[in-house]
Symmetry: D2
Subunit: 415 residues, 4 copies
């Protein structure tokens, strides 16, 4: 298998840098592949039957890529090398980063595009002033071509791990590829950077994942483009800490018929993600994706409130506190409180590395368009049918994903 590439939108951010350090460390065998779904064991099909006693890693069954075969790159609005960024963020301990100094120093970002209208709490030092959005898109496409050529890559995966943009709904501009391209040329203010990156990636037939809540791959224009270029796409908003746990616990309440009256979720985080979310517009994007998960799992509408607080003393060590009020037999009230001391970028990195592997696989086997089975990795899964209700139940999502690749590998469905 020849090499493949992975380009991050937001290369210098915590999620991208941690994912890259994780990938290199796993590739070199310096760390066990904790946090990666693709490393878990499942039962293969042998002689038409699930062989429960002969479990194998998903990675082997699907023949997924090794991380030593991945070349990393990306865009950022700050031009700095990844080594410095990783040291400064402090997410990964200094001695682990230092071990990879040469590798990290060799990774440099292409200059990113930026719009203050879409991310209010950041200031970009460097962006494509004076150029139309269409020219910006062309420039990004050229970056991809150069990257592919330089490193002689078969496939390049593009993952958006940039800051959350201000909330926007799909509008007429986004409704068809033609209108969208006209919009690009006219620098329509409804088109944000996340959409332009996605447009460039999909135009270049790069499998694309939207790890942020920003409006991007789900708009009709980009779905159309993905079909046209036969490119797999997936999104949106990586399911990491609080929502991961929420979608894993809520199914228990449903199955036991323990009736949830209210679910209060608060988060404190102090990294750049938190700073960006301190703007109400970006916050709305996040709250919308975080809030939708409960009703569909439960089948009813409990009182559900999600708070996100910028709290600088905590840095990347995000913390969530949840309170669940529910009722059992005779309507008697009970409570569960969950305190999750998590490392946001660490959890995200696991998802990102799984997505790189699985997107490469989907392309290799010829899939294109929205990869709904990858909804397992997202807070707000993009569905094949526009407007259809995604599945949020963690265990159902996993069942669907497993069923999907058992079908691809063995030609049969099992569970």
């Amino acid at each position: 298998m020849s090499k493949i590439g992975a380009l991050f939108v937001g290369l210098n951010g915590g999620v991208a840098s941690t994912s890259i350090i994780g990938a290199i460390s796993i590739g070199k065998g310096l760390t066990p592949p904790y946090g990666l779904y693709t490393e878990t064991l499942i039962s293969p099909v042998i002689n038409g039957k699930l062989a429960r006693l002969n479990q194998q890693p998903i990675k082997e069954i699907l023949n997924l890529i090794n991380f030593q075969d991945v070349v990393f790159g990306g865009w950022d609005i700050e031009e700095r090398n990844l080594y410095e960024c990783a040291i400064e963020s402090g997410i990964v301990p200094k001695e682990m980063v230092t071990q990879l100094e040469p590798e990290l120093k060799s990774i440099r970002s292409f200059p990113g595009i930026f719009s203050k209208e879409f991310i209010k709490n950041l200031d970009a030092k460097d962006h494509a002033k004076g150029h139309s959005l269409y020219e910006q898109a062309q420039s990004l496409r050229q970056n991809i071509k150069d990257f592919k050529h330089t490193h002689n890559l078969q496939t390049v995966i593009v993952i958006n791990t940039a800051s959350t943009e201000v909330y926007h709904e799909t509008s007429t501009t986004h409704s068809s590829l033609e209108r969208f391209e006209t919009g690009l040329k006219e620098s329509d203010p409804l088109i944000g950077p996340a959409q332009i990156y996605a447009y460039a990636a999909i135009s270049e037939n790069c499998p694309y994942a939207n790890f942020t809540p920003s409006l991007a791959e789900e708009i009709p224009a980009l779905r159309e483009l993905a079909q046209k270029t036969k490119t797999p796409i997936a999104g949106k908003d990586g399911k990491t800490g609080q929502t991961l746990l929420k979608t894993a616990i809520a199914p228990m309440f449903r199955l036991k018929n323990l009736h949830i009256e209210g679910w209060f979720s608060t988060n404190i985080l102090g990294n750049k993600d938190g700073l960006v979310l301190d703007d109400p517009g970006s916050l709305k994007s996040k709250i919308v994706t975080k809030s939708s998960v409960l009703d569909s799992i439960l089948g009813y509408h409990p009182y559900h409130k999600v708070n996100i607080n910028y709290y600088p003393p905590r840095g990347d060590d995000k913390e969530a506190w949840d309170n669940i009020d529910f009722k059992g037999v005779l309507g008697m009230p009970m409570q569960i409180k969950i305190n999750f001391l998590c490392k946001d970028s660490i959890l995200a990195a696991g998802n990102v590395l799984d997505l790189i592997r699985l997107l490469e696989y989907t392309k290799r086997i010829g899939e294109s368009g929205v990869q709904e089975q990858l909804g397992f990795f997202f807070k707000c899964p993009t569905t094949v049918q526009i407007g259809s209700q995604p599945i949020h139940d963690f265990f159902k999502q996993e069942g669907i994903l497993k069923e999907w690749f058992r079908e691809k590998v063995y030609g049969v469905k099992y569970n």
Copy 2:
């Protein structure tokens, strides 16, 4: 459908009284059936396919009994009426209990059997002194016959909700029905009350569930008896608060490959259950059933410690605090802490009512012996094969149960 009966070992205890109040209240439509799995919706099979949009309650699909068709009774070592017990325990609010005063006052216990050797922290006011264990068993059988006859019942379910007995392992006495019956006649000190009740129930072809950690239906002697009398049996130790949550969350860690380093679980409870568990022998029975669940779900052996503390100020409002230490990408440590303020008997009652319904169903369709598919309701599921490792994963258990009854109803397996 004619009436069925439900007899509780430990009728005056919190679990039995709450289950009965719950059943009557649900039967009369005074309360929604929260906490009951058999009331949840699932997809039926229509034209050979799962009909996802036409979900129906399990209760309807299996044509399960209504609680107004159940007559309640049981044994206890204290002779008191259920109304007083329920008022005194304070588990169910006084006004709910008072609504059912006539029904509850009409339920009286048969005199129970007791052994100080098996439950050290209780003192029985009333037990079968001077009689051999065999005579005790015959007396219990006569109680069942009388109950059945008096109320003209088709089926009687027996559920052990008595206090946890001192830990014992299976011994020669328990190894065959013949040896066990000899032991009964010789009043072998290795035979405890839980076994005698189970023996009586199974002898009378009453479906039997062991809701406690005491040694009972799993011994070879009683399995043999269950086959002989064609009686379904299930156990053991109802899965309610902390363990319920643990077996619902642990699968998420496995699927995300988040490596658990340690899991510390502590419980405080102040009811009679807590008092009994304040004796090291009874505590061991409980700790053994609570401790086994993690390894089988995860496939490895994290540091796992379970504490149970008798804490009188809390009464029946059991509380659990869990701390989970785990590692993600790059081995970075994270923590989750869970605080569960639960009502022990309320959670138990849901399981008990589900078991009454499903045991009646198993008997109706002609099943007998260990009903492994009912492992969903137990901390330490009794398996068909002695010594085989039970499944503890909450979602796998539910899958197995659902698959089982889809097969029974539709003749096909789905998921």
Copy 3:
């Protein structure tokens, strides 16, 4: 000692009704006086020395009133009897309320004044439309006179336990009694209900406590009036749950020199108080009083964030979650998390009953103006000197209060 009266602004609310039920129950000996500072033991001075082994209740040392000698009344914008309100709120269990049915039914409110501009999330059914604020004030004064006369009362205490008003700063209107009375006559929109009630109470020489964050007794106009009528006044915003605990723990950090980096406080509450605070204007009043406490205790400025969330499933059972990030030797970080499951009105009632007793005492011994020593009971103590920094340290506050009344009783200061 003849009878005294207690009039509540917001009589039908949870704090007033719980305070009254508490007072009657304690007066009748139906409940121990938990939650009351005035019932705690302290060392009296005997022969000029603190007699540590002869501790006596503060109540006895100060000869404080018994609650059976208090007649209750108040104003409300809803005309309902207190029995119904107490049953409906559910704060006090039904059987406790029912015991006092005749007493509670006999307590009726005077019609209250209301301004939608000051409390946006409530709608009053009944208010003094068409009347100037001055006329409203006169009407309130007449209510007080009538109440005093009807019940033949020596002293009447007025306590504001109404909903939190929209945040306002002191303005010219409030700067002198003359300007304020002009404002009343001109119905100046900067004068809110809380000020009018306070004006009426102080005009009638009724000791007045502001238990809410609304702008009232601290304005220069009302201080002037209090001096003129020789009336003791105290405020503001009763220190109950989260802030009580915060001001009791923060001193430990200071004394151990454990450096606080950040303190995050979130609250969920579902009662009418929560509904009112769901309006940003009222919320600001509350946040301002809650936020000021840390800096003065610590002597530096940590990152401090306070959230208040309206969360209906919880009713009056307010819950707080705090996270404290701090550093010890070598700057090593540690965390404390506190989860307070409190009953807001229960905690408030203890403070209110203490204030009724101590305000009666201050009047009896001839004190007037701002009673700074009562700052112990408030989140944002009103100081004698306008603009001076109040003391927030719980233990310092208690020391000051104790010192004050030892001086009043024994003529000497001790500690």
Copy 4:
């Protein structure tokens, strides 16, 4: 001021090594002196009055030693240099330890004495086999003399930070100096290592602090010796995490008359301290000191349970979880839960450094015998009068300490 020495019993343990690293770092100005009481500001007395606006550090008011003037040493049963121990324990981050490599490598331990009977869960590689306890004591005294001479020290402080010994009560052997010395000569099995170290220290006129729960300075024999040699002594069991917080919060409950029904405390810790406490004998020593604090603060006896659990995944990052059940007005129940994620040795180090400073001061001003005013630093303060009830209230303790040194410095008492 000439140099002073500090000798640790258990030099290689986490508390001693962290204290030393802390002292050197503070001495060099590499870290702020967080966690030290002696660095907090208090009001001096100026012209016979407390000067509240001119606060000064306690350190300056008492002219306490600087840590650059302290020479460190001690005993240990393992012969290793402190640098290695500190790196291995991982309590202080590697880069901080490395900064002090030369200083730490130069600190070597004297060979310690050990008794398997007193510490069951450790195995000593090196101890004084074949020698009587008296000979062991003489050898320790010689170590002190050598240390003092080598470094030309005015005063040497000895602090016991060794592992917790098995619980013993005071017996006849401990009842007088004469009997104790006879016991030493006869190697009486009731005399443990902690007592022998204390005997050696006090014999050499070294101020001594017992930072562990082991039986030592409080026995009559050693009190007698301290009087004879005019040596100040203090103990026992450093008040650090859970108990520190407990004794700071409990006073609030007393002052608000919030009645505590129960207090449940659990701890998880994975360091050597935890391993030693996994032996029931050592555990009892700890539980006894931890359990006594509540009753004396509250004046009544709530249900109080303290658990300590050895939990290896956590290392030195001790964690405590507390649940407090209490009642307010009308007996209504409320709960507070506290989760303390602490670094045990970091909190201990602050106390140890304060004690070194304050013990040097007590000796300098001529104090001797039990220094009860230092009870502020201990879980189970040793009192001047044998058997008298110590004060546990954190704020009262601090008041007493402050009063004491204001009297020493200014000749007057204030508060």
